[in-house]
């Protein structure tokens, strides 16, 4: 291909990169670099802003890359170019931690910061529904058991699943397959409901593709907007978006439990998950503010009951667990593959 263009373009950019890049790498870093989950992002960026405002250190850089993408970057190795912290809306997998260790990231501390619920909500012009996990599963699964055999999902209306449910078309706006919310939904709803049904034999997570489930993109605001226009539809999104839209949305209770902060924190609400971040202890010396930031994050004014993060939708852990988190941080407890 265009040899001349390439050679010229690249020579010059290479020189520019070399000259400016070296200058950047040479200085010590007192700016923390954070990557990871888009669910944790609003909370983490609140803390980074506070950290930048009240300490003499620069505001940490935080990128919302998704849990999996964040851990991949985090585990790329040790050194200035790699992130110091990765946020995650699920626990790190044993395979991911192994990859970390292969790349020399051997000393990682796990910090559990709170919980998040996934809600199944609709426009508040409707009556609130009470669903069981199984009903929710039957509405979204690609194949469902009918008379003991798996067939393509035949349910078009909620009343087809259970005559007690309203006679409304099944129409659900939910996150796409790249999203951590979708991962959690598949695990907490699809897997646990399908394991109760004999017809599957193993965990089943296939979501129907016949138009009843609509991929609505990573932006939960779009789902909320669509629900106010399409009052027959349901949406699947994070708890904080329910808190921000109390007049326009009404959430369904699952198995009789409403998605409220206490029920989610206590684990009574079935579609709830824990939020984490992972700290690269090997960077603690080269990046002096690292543990100052972590300490601020796990302080009671942030993650406690009535803390600032609770105001923006984080569901605090029970007090004993918060204490545990702070102990782990103080000890810089090293995460082992056997813990997972």
């Amino acid at each position: 291909m265009n040899r001349i263009l390439k050679s010229r373009a690249f020579k010059t950019t290479v020189i520019a990169a070399a000259v400016m890049g070296v200058a950047g790498v040479a200085q010590a870093r007192d700016q923390i670099r954070i990557v990871g989950s888009s669910t944790v992002y609003p909370f983490a960026s609140y803390v980074t802003e506070e950290f930048g405002a009240v300490t003499e250190y620069p505001t940490p850089v935080i990128e919302s890359t998704g849990s999996g993408g964040g851990i991949r970057l985090f585990c790329n190795g040790v050194g200035e170019g790699t992130p110091d912290i990765s946020n995650a809306s699920r626990r790190i997998k044993a395979s991911e931690l192994e990859r970390c260790e292969e790349n020399g990231v051997t000393d990682v501390t796990e910090v559990k910061i709170g919980s998040d619920g996934i809600v199944f909500a609709q426009s508040s012009q409707n009556e609130a529904l009470d669903l069981t996990l199984e009903q929710l599963f039957l509405a979204v699964a690609a194949q469902v058991p009918v008379d003991g055999e798996l067939v393509d999902n035949p349910y078009t209306n909620w009343s087809d699943i259970d005559s007690a449910l309203p006679d409304r078309e099944i129409s659900i706006y939910g996150p796409p397959s790249t999203s951590g919310t979708r991962d959690a939904f598949e695990e907490l709803v699809m897997e646990s409901a399908s394991e109760e049904l004999d017809a599957y034999g193993e965990a089943y997570t296939e979501i129907r593709a016949d138009g009843a489930y609509i991929d609505a993109g990573e932006n939960d605001n779009l789902i909320v907007q669509r629900l106010t226009e399409d009052t027959d539809a349901f949406g699947i999104f994070g708890y904080s978006f329910l808190v921000e839209n109390p007049d326009s949305l009404v959430a369904s209770s699952i198995g009789g439990v409403e998605p409220e902060a206490e029920a989610i924190s206590a684990g009574d609400y079935p579609i709830a998950r824990s939020l984490f971040f992972y700290v690269k202890n090997q960077h603690a010396e080269d990046v002096p503010p690292l543990y100052e930031y972590v300490d601020m994050f796990v302080s009671e004014t942030m993650i406690g009951e009535g803390g600032y993060l609770a105001d923006i939708g984080l569901i605090p852990l029970p007090e004993a667990e918060r204490e545990q988190t702070r102990e782990k941080v103080a000890d810089r407890a090293q995460l082992q593959t056997s813990d997972l």
């Binding site: 263009l5 950019t13 520019a16 802003e49 935080i62």
Partner: protein, 388 residues
């Protein structure tokens, strides 16, 4: 004869009808495009204009002992909830930096909480009844007011909608564009000069030309992937920096500049070149002293349009990490930064309702800059263009 005359006039009528129909259809298309534009602008203005006003509150600040630890202690209890946390959290630091403040007090206008702002603007808010009553009272006393939102232009992003602004994104955009221009302009123009003035017209240059045209049409996200693989992973350019963003966008802008420059060079008539050769100029002298100055307006126009395109780009920047939370204005080309469209993208995903107006406000600022750039391009062309 008369038969054929009738035939012809019937045909003519038919052709006229057809051309009239086509005219109406194309006018309809234009009207529709115009309508969409008007709807878009009306929507953006309706949503975005409130962003240029922000609630401020007049408070008495009492720098007492307790305020050294907790800023809120310096404020009267009934209004402390109505003041933005971005101000309140600075109070301990203010006392630390200036111990003389301790024991004094002052009255000043500070940023009100975002909920107060939303309440005054008649949007949805989370104030309870007693807080609403307090705000109403303060409004009557003239101690709460909507004022022009200077914060929007003097700060970077914030999690608190009342304190978030576009300055860090705007500075990031300028720095990124400087890098883009510094790389893409010289390389693009020199490539075009070589291809147009020096290169022989053979199979190789034809292939190059086709490839350049193809490059101009490649989805921009691919340049992001290229930037990640080459600049960040291979050369170790700092992630999220204006340097890597600018270099990535330069790759994207390069073909646009090359094509615009070649068109501009081609429109300079050959008689100019012949005349210069006639008085003994070398090929380089011909290009430098005669062809290039005459082609300059066209080159500038093309470059500005290429730059405006790069300025509105987000997709490749997501990949190189420039879509990030950046409250501080970056001071060097290797520090993390973000750009205006990325800032709009970030705000659009925030759960707080108050960010809706920030999003639209950011779009308005971006549109204003783009209109300014495109207008400059048009003026340059009109002013300096020469017809032969």
């Amino acid at each position: 004869m008369s038969q054929s005359f009738d035939d012809i006039s019937a045909q003519l009528r038919k052709r006229h009808r057809r051309s009239a129909r086509l005219k109406w259809i194309s006018m309809g298309a234009l009207g529709l495009a115009g309508l969409f534009l008007v709807l878009f602008f009306a929507d953006m203005l309706g949503k975005g204009l409130p962003a240029f006003q922000q609630a401020q509150i007049q408070v008495e600040i009492d720098y007492n002992e307790d305020a050294q630890r907790m800023g809120r202690a310096a404020l009267e209890p009934e209004v402390s909830r109505l003041v933005s946390r971005t101000f309140e959290r600075l109070i301990p630091g203010m006392i630390r930096d200036n111990p003389d403040l301790l024991g004094t007090s002052e009255t000043r206008w500070v940023l009100a909480d975002g909920e107060v702002d939303q309440y005054l603007k008649g949007h949805r808010h989370k104030l309870n009844d007693s807080q609403q009553a307090t705000v109403d009272e303060l409004v009557e006393q003239g101690r709460v007011e909507l004022k022009f939102n200077t914060t929007f232009f003097t700060t970077g992003d914030s999690k608190m909608p009342e304190a978030s602004g576009i300055l860090s994104a705007a500075v990031g955009t300028v720095m990124t564009m400087l890098v883009t221009l510094a790389i893409a302009f010289p390389i693009g123009v020199m490539t075009a000069i070589y291809l147009e003035e020096f290169a022989p017209d053979n199979r190789l240059t034809q292939i190059i030309e086709i490839n350049i045209n193809n490059l101009a049409a490649i989805p921009s996200i691919l340049f992001g992937l290229l930037g990640l693989a080459i600049f960040i992973n291979f050369f170790g350019v700092p992630r999220s920096s204006p340097l890597v963003g600018g270099m990535t966008l330069a790759l994207m802008t390069l073909p646009v500049i090359i094509i615009a420059t070649r068109t501009a060079l081609r429109s300079v008539p050959d008689s100019i070149r012949h005349a210069a050769f006639g008085v003994g100029c070398s090929r380089w002298q011909v290009v430098r002293d005669h062809v290039l100055p005459l082609a300059m307006p066209g080159i500038m126009t093309g470059s500005i349009i290429g730059l405006a395109q790069a300025m509105g780009e987000t997709a490749p920047l997501i990949i190189v990490g420039m879509v990030a939370f950046i409250p501080d204005v970056s001071a060097s080309f290797t520090e993390a930064a973000t750009v205006l469209p990325a800032q709009v993208f970030t705000w659009a995903g925030e759960p707080e309702k108050a960010f809706v107006e920030k999003t639209a406000g950011g779009i308005l600022v971006l549109l204003a800059i783009l209109i300014f750039l495109n207008a400059t391009a048009v003026i340059l062309r009109k002013k300096f263009e020469r017809r032969w």
